[in-house]
């Protein structure tokens, strides 16, 4: 999941993310950021979800465990 943290940091335009960080509290958490995350999930993990499903995930750790439960890698 380390690579996920790096990918998220790049999308969120910050140095690093912590597992307890709340997704919607990031300054640039808007529809464009959501879209960037959706694309990353599709491309890197083969997961297709919509923004509503993504918004239900609270923290970075929630996103990581979601990927582990659904992903192919």
């Amino acid at each position: 999941m380390e690579s996920l943290y790096k990918k998220l940091a790049a999308i969120l335009e910050i140095e690093e993310v912590t597992s307890s960080a709340v997704l919607r509290d990031f300054d640039i958490w808007d529809s464009l950021t959501v879209l960037s995350v959706l694309v990353m999930l599709d491309k890197d993990y083969g997961i297709n979800i919509d923004g509503v499903a993504l918004e239900k995930l609270e923290t970075v750790a929630d996103l990581a465990s979601f990927i582990q439960s659904k992903g192919r890698k």
């Binding site: 808007d30 529809s31 464009l32 959706l38 923004g51």
Partner: protein
């Protein structure tokens, strides 16, 4: 579901775009967003310029201007077609059909099958299918298919989801018997997802009123009214990425052609970003799937496929022919595709209105 047609062709195509052009850098002044984020949106999505109507220009105005152009240039005789199909979601009136408005304004003959079809981004393919089916009747020898929308007036300028990409326009496609081989198509629809793209008010369910005109906070710093187009961007994006690649795979299998044998993928143009992601997923080189319509003209719903063809492939379609795969996806939700050899057209160009 699959469809098969033979001995039918597109003999000409004209696109009519409003001369009025808006620029994203001007649009973004109205958005409730930091400039840097708006510029990021511009860069990622490929927004730049878009054509929108002014002064209350309606669908039939664009269509009548285009038809008159064809009559004046002797590219089409006013009595030389037997059906007029208008595919639109911005009809001049709730009734009568816009096809009858156009028939009347142009004084066309009475032996003319006028029909309106309510379709959006898949509307070019749905319109072609309708035309091909009508051509089975011996009394119908040639058909004018008009795709037209002026939805920009129903998009909130404070809605960063939809306003930067919306475009208006009309296309006139002449369909007739004759042939360039077989035509394969497929289509699927899902009405349970109908709310993903909707103008809630203005029909009979929610008539327009002073209440439906009030701008509401739609979240994410976007503001729109019930009279405005509402697009659930991430749901539509997800729908396209999930359903379009397998649809094309199944179409090409049905047509017994390989992906390499297709010369061009002329797809509906939601924005550059989505088309690039689709091309990546389908492993199609970007130059085979043009994506430059939204940045130059905007997304004009069912008119985008004719615009892609006329803007990028004019010479190829006037002289000689090409193997083209079309795809449209959007409101309904609807996703449709078609594979055919296209070309040797008598006209294929874009004009401005006025």
């Amino acid at each position: 579901m699959n469809f098969y047609f033979s001995n039918k062709k597109i003999s000409g195509m004209l696109v009519v775009l409003p001369a009025n052009e808006r620029k994203f850098v001007d649009d973004m002044k109205t958005f409730n967003f930091p400039e840097a984020r708006s510029l990021k949106l511009k860069e990622v999505m490929g927004y730049d310029k878009h054509r929108v109507v002014t002064n209350g220009t309606c669908s039939s105005d664009l269509a009548v201007a285009g038809m008159q152009h064809l009559f004046d240039e002797k590219l089409l005789g006013r009595d030389d077609f037997d059906a007029l199909i208008v595919v639109s979601q911005s009809s001049d009136h709730i009734l009568p059909p816009t096809s009858n408005v156009i028939q009347g304004r142009l004084n066309l003959k009475q032996d003319l099958f006028c029909i309106d079809v309510n379709q959006g981004c898949a509307g070019f393919i749905v319109g072609l299918m309708q035309a091909f089916m009508m051509l089975e009747q011996s009394s119908i020898r040639r058909i004018v298919l008009i795709n037209v929308d002026v939805l920009s007036t129903r998009v909130s300028p404070k809605d960063r989801n939809s306003y930067p990409l919306i475009g208006d326009g009309a296309s006139i496609t002449v369909v007739e018997e004759g042939g360039m081989g077989e035509i394969f198509a497929n289509l699927k629809m899902d009405g349970t997802s109908r709310d993903a793209l909707i103008i809630p008010a203005g029909g009979f369910r929610i008539p327009t009123s002073s209440k439906t005109a009030v701008l509401e906070d739609a979240g994410d710093n976007n503001f729109r009214a019930k009279d405005h187009l509402r697009m659930d961007g991430s749901a539509v994006f997800n729908f396209v990425q999930v359903h379009v690649p397998p649809m094309i795979e199944s179409l090409l299998e049905f047509a017994k052609v390989t992906s390499n044998e297709v010369d061009y993928y002329a797809f509906h143009q939601p924005n550059r970003f989505m088309l690039q992601k689709l091309a990546d997923k389908m492993q199609v080189p970007y130059e085979k799937m043009p994506n430059n319509i939204v940045e130059n003209f905007g997304n004009s719903s069912g008119v985008t496929i004719p615009t892609v063809l006329a803007y990028n492939l004019q010479n190829e379609l006037l002289d000689g022919s090409r193997r083209i795969c079309l795809a449209g996806f959007g409101v309904g939700l609807t996703w449709a595709s078609m594979y055919m050899r296209m070309g040797n057209m008598s006209f294929c160009n874009i004009i401005n209105y006025p």
